[in-house]
Symmetry: C2
């Protein structure tokens, strides 16, 4: 999961999920995280996923073809259950930002 996402030419959409994890998030957090990633990959319109975590601050960005795809993913039953668990047990706070990617560029080190 710690790989950069490969996404097509813009426009597409990004969901920026920033979370502060509780010191003791309790059972099931890591497993749910893996499971959600697997589920998301099977969703229509899924383009990619990136996640990193430092000292309890997590940033997960998922990329989607459309707002419709994002809404469908948000409503998936197992994802909704995870959202409930997140509020009940895992996170002290989180923010979700839905954004339209307008332009993108990249750098790759030339092989020498």
């Amino acid at each position: 999961m710690t790989e950069p996402a490969q996404t097509p030419e813009p426009p597409y959409f990004a969901v920026i999920f920033t979370s502060m994890r509780r010191e003791q998030p309790g059972d099931g957090f890591a497993e749910a995280d893996e499971r959600l990633f697997a589920l998301a990959q099977d969703q229509p319109g899924f383009l990619g996923y990136e996640t990193a975590d430092t000292d309890g601050l997590g940033i997960t960005v998922s990329y989607w073809e459309s707002e419709t795809a994002i809404a469908a993913w948000k409503a998936v039953t197992e994802h909704r259950a995870a959202q409930d668990q997140g509020r009940a047990r895992w996170f002290d706070s989180y923010q979700v930002r839905v954004a339209r990617v307008e332009r993108a560029y990249e750098f790759t080190r030339p092989t020498s």
Copy 2:
């Protein structure tokens, strides 16, 4: 720096910077990262900054009032020098995505 950003109501803009750091990024990386954060905070139109890193995959999201503010920040001399260093020494690859945040919502755990 490992704090969630506090941003106003959308719309505003996000720059999603995803990087794969080299195994030996060399001197100056951590110092430059700190310095860039301090510089960015003083830029007109800067709204916030979030960063996390797992196993060399870094995700940094900065938030801005406008595309104009993003362009101005990209052109700051010291920032340009850091971009050059990033390509020369610090990163194997990176991606920059400029996105317009359309909507946002958040959760904060009630104090009990």
